[in-house]
């Protein structure tokens, strides 16, 4: 397994650079991935989505349905793609430390 070093911490990542164990998440990770995703700075809107994803994952063990994410975070899909250019299922989940979605996505 591959590791990346962020702020002196070794984080285990998969082939696509997603965090292997979401429990290891820390803020530095989010900033690090955001840069890779072409997001200059994580705004309050970004954090709103990231925290929602983290909480939801902690509760259910999955990433939320996109419709639910938009509805409950109050951020429409269009804005979601402006915030996270690779989309909520990939970019946002990566920043939030969720595993990469598999299957037909």
């Amino acid at each position: 397994m591959a590791f990346v070093e962020i702020e002196g911490k070794q984080v285990e990542v998969d082939e696509d650079g997603f965090m292997v164990d979401p429990a290891e998440w820390f803020e530095g990770w989010a900033h690090h991935i955001a840069k890779q995703e072409g997001i200059e700075e994580l705004t309050e809107r970004h954090w709103h989505v990231v925290n929602f994803l983290k909480d939801y994952y902690a509760k259910t063990g999955i990433a939320p349905m996109i419709r639910k994410l938009c509805k409950e975070s109050g951020i429409p899909l269009k804005e979601m793609y402006e915030l996270f250019p690779t989309g909520p299922a990939k970019g946002a989940c990566k920043i939030a430390g969720l595993p990469k979605p598999t299957g037909c996505v």
Binding site: E15, M65, A89
Partner: protein
């Protein structure tokens, strides 16, 4: 051409294969291992042997393949792609190839060819349009299945397929959905239906004992296709079915079918039948998923180990909706789907499962007269969306390939002038959501059962 010039999806790591209990075959053993596997297959699978030995290289398949049309790479001509294996087959297993390899186009196997297999057999979407067009009916998809299986055994498979296989073994679905996640999503959908359809109460029972019907939705519906789940729930509510979804097999697809038919595909079948038995189901009804439906409809009877559960009939939700429409039992209001709409026949429905008619019966019942426009070609001759067989890769080179492979589809859709593109298959949807943007098509993508649910008129 060296391996790094070939277009290849991102590979699964040794660690990921390890999770599936597999060690990578070292490079110096790959060739011998692959030849051994070909030898096994030629003694076991007739469709493979006939594809190896019947082709006359007439080239009728070239213009039939959306991948070739999109890439213009001769190795993507179905006959050319199969030749990547056929050359090797000829060299080792035919008289002419052993005596006159140069003359008959036979070749020793080497690592470079194996790299080409990995590139080109993951550009084939197993859509079988070439089998439909071939004067002999040579089924190139059979060769792709076998090539992918051999590669998998060598420890070469896309990260996407392998990670999905891992999710299957952990959870019984592609997305790694947990029971808590499934229930939460479905409760959310119940609320959404209630809100959108004037207080209509639709429950989505999960793991409910003593159910008559086991509904098998695509796990992607839980992330991307809420309306497909709406439609199924509304239909079952309307007919008053005693149904359930099993959290152990919340998956209509079967990625095992697409990369590892010996273990992962079988795992899905075993789970399916065990769950149907567990809840006392008398029938299994399939959700919208193309390859998975083919794997269920055509392969479960030959893959199921237990005779007792083999007897549980499996139908598609479209089959059932069609039958209820024909019996005049559904009140549908087509005006609710009042947009110009076209239908993309998913490959596995049209060419492998005989759904061309039932989809049209449903379509004509749920949209106003004249709203449905056919794309050309259609039915059995339809072109693949470009993402078939799970080649939904997002690494940049392969994403570019997906755009190219959907050129033909975009052209077909554009010609119809439709506003809604109905594509009742999870892979098609996952491919077409981004592709309509890439090709700047002014359409929205939906499933077919989505439209049924929307048109159903509930009284009381």
């Amino acid at each position: 051409m060296s391996a790094n010039e070939l277009r290849q999806p991102k590979r699964a790591s040794a660690a990921l294969f390890k999770k599936l209990g597999m060690d990578l075959v070292p490079d110096n053993e790959k060739v011998a291992a692959a030849i051994g596997h070909i030898d096994d297959f030629r003694l076991k699978v007739r469709s493979f042997v006939m594809a190896m030995e019947t082709c006359v290289k007439c080239g009728a398949c070239a213009e039939a393949c959306h991948t070739y049309l999109g890439t213009r790479d001769p190795n993507n001509i179905p006959a050319g792609r199969v030749d990547l294996i056929r050359k090797v087959y000829k060299r080792y297993f035919t008289v002419q190839g052993q005596l006159f390899p140069g003359l008959v186009g036979a070749q020793d196997l080497d690592l470079e060819t194996i790299e080409k297999w990995y590139s080109y057999f993951y550009q084939c979407s197993e859509c079988r349009r070439c089998a439909h067009v071939c004067p002999f009916g040579i089924d190139t998809a059979e060769v792709t299945f076998i090539a992918r299986q051999i590669l998998y055994w060598l420890g070469i498979a896309p990260q996407l397929h392998t990670a999905t296989a891992d999710a299957i073994l952990r959870t019984g679905n592609h997305m790694g959905l947990t029971k808590a996640g499934i229930i939460d999503t479905l409760e959310f959908l119940s609320e959404e239906i209630e809100e959108e359809y004037d207080g209509l109460k639709v429950d989505f029972p999960v793991d409910k004992p003593d159910s008559d019907i086991l509904y098998v939705p695509s796990s992607a519906d839980f992330m991307l296709n809420p309306r497909t789940l709406f439609g199924a729930g509304q239909f079952f509510k309307y007919v008053g079915a005693n149904w359930t979804i099993s959290s152990e097999i919340t998956e209509a697809g079967n990625f095992g079918y697409l990369s590892d038919q010996t273990r992962i595909q079988r795992e899905m079948v075993t789970r399916l039948l065990a769950e149907a038995k567990k809840y006392g189901c008398k029938k299994i009804v399939w959700g919208e998923c193309g390859h998975g439906w083919r794997a269920a409809k055509m392969y479960v009877p030959t893959l199921a180990d237990l005779v007792a559960v083999k007897q549980i009939p499996i139908t598609h939700i479209h089959d059932e909706v069609e039958a209820y429409i024909k019996a005049g039992l559904l009140e549908l209001d087509p005006k609710r789907n009042d947009s110009k709409i076209t239908l993309h026949d998913p490959c596995n429905y049209a060419r492998a499962c005989g759904h061309a008619d039932n989809m049209r019966t449903i379509m004509n019942a749920v949209v106003p007269k004249g709203a449905f426009v056919e794309m050309t070609p259609n039915r059995e001759a339809n072109f693949c969306c470009g993402g078939g067989s799970g080649i939904l890769f997002d690494d940049p080179g392969m994403y570019q390939f997906r755009i190219e492979a959907s050129n033909k589809k975009a052209e077909q859709v554009r010609e119809t002038g439709a506003e809604i593109l109905c594509a009742p298959c999870s892979i098609c949807k996952a491919q077409l959501y981004p592709m309509v943007k890439e090709h700047k098509l002014p359409v929205e993508v939906f499933g077919l059962i989505d439209l049924v649910g929307h048109a159903l008129v509930f009284r009381e």
